[in-house]
Symmetry: C2
Subunit: 132 residues, 2 copies
């Protein structure tokens, strides 16, 4: 499936056509939350192929900026993401995936990539590991 080129502002914001606004690197941002808990699990990026394959298969696919390649989440780790719902934002440069996560989302073994909270201490900021 090829995506149509983004239309004007009104079409982008109000239309019923998915016409992703890929950035200069050909990517949109993907926010991934746990469909049950609502927790933000990770932020990743999709090129047109990753977005297409995610829609087609219902399994989350991303573009790895560091490795420069397409990957299906969990293809090596087994920690797959089954898409329950998918949403797009107003200007269509970001998507939100609600997923059923098999195992931890983070390569570190944490359930979510967001496992450290910013905490102010004596006018400085520290990262504090979550209890989860």
């Amino acid at each position: 499936m090829a995506f149509p080129a983004p239309g004007d502002k009104a079409e982008l914001e109000s239309g019923s056509t998915l016409s992703p606004k890929f950035d200069a690197a050909g990517l949109v941002t993907a926010v991934v939350t746990d469909a049950t808990s609502g927790e933000v699990l990770m932020v990743a990026h999709m090129n047109d192929v990753a977005l297409d394959k995610t829609i087609e298969t219902g399994q989350a696919h991303y573009w790895s900026r560091s490795r420069g390649e397409l990957w299906r989440k969990g293809e090596t780790s087994g920690n797959t993401q089954t898409v329950i719902e998918m949403w797009v934002d107003c200007d269509q440069d970001a998507v939100w995936l609600k997923v059923e996560m098999a195992g931890p989302a983070c390569h570190t073994g944490e359930r979510s990539c967001f496992y450290r909270r910013l905490e102010g201490r004596d006018g400085k900021v520290e990262l504090v590991q979550s209890g989860g």
Copy 2:
């Protein structure tokens, strides 16, 4: 506050020091959720100044890529975001803000920028406006 340069992989992932990994454009991705409902409200970007001001004031600040300027969310609309919690991801190139939102988050007047769901129909994808 100046942020220290990102350390090696171990420091980035396990350390208690916030050392954001800004991209080539000097930005990190910010995911914003409603601290009460958990809903994803928007995705935006922060440069070092926006991140610093957000931490310092507790009010969300972003870098507008389209206008090329710093903005405090709500400075013209009144729809401010008071930060309740702030988290950083494993490689410190994304932050997650849980906010108390005053009014709608989206410039379109929708509560969230993610007001359209992808729905498959006859092998095609359509965007369907949410009921909210």
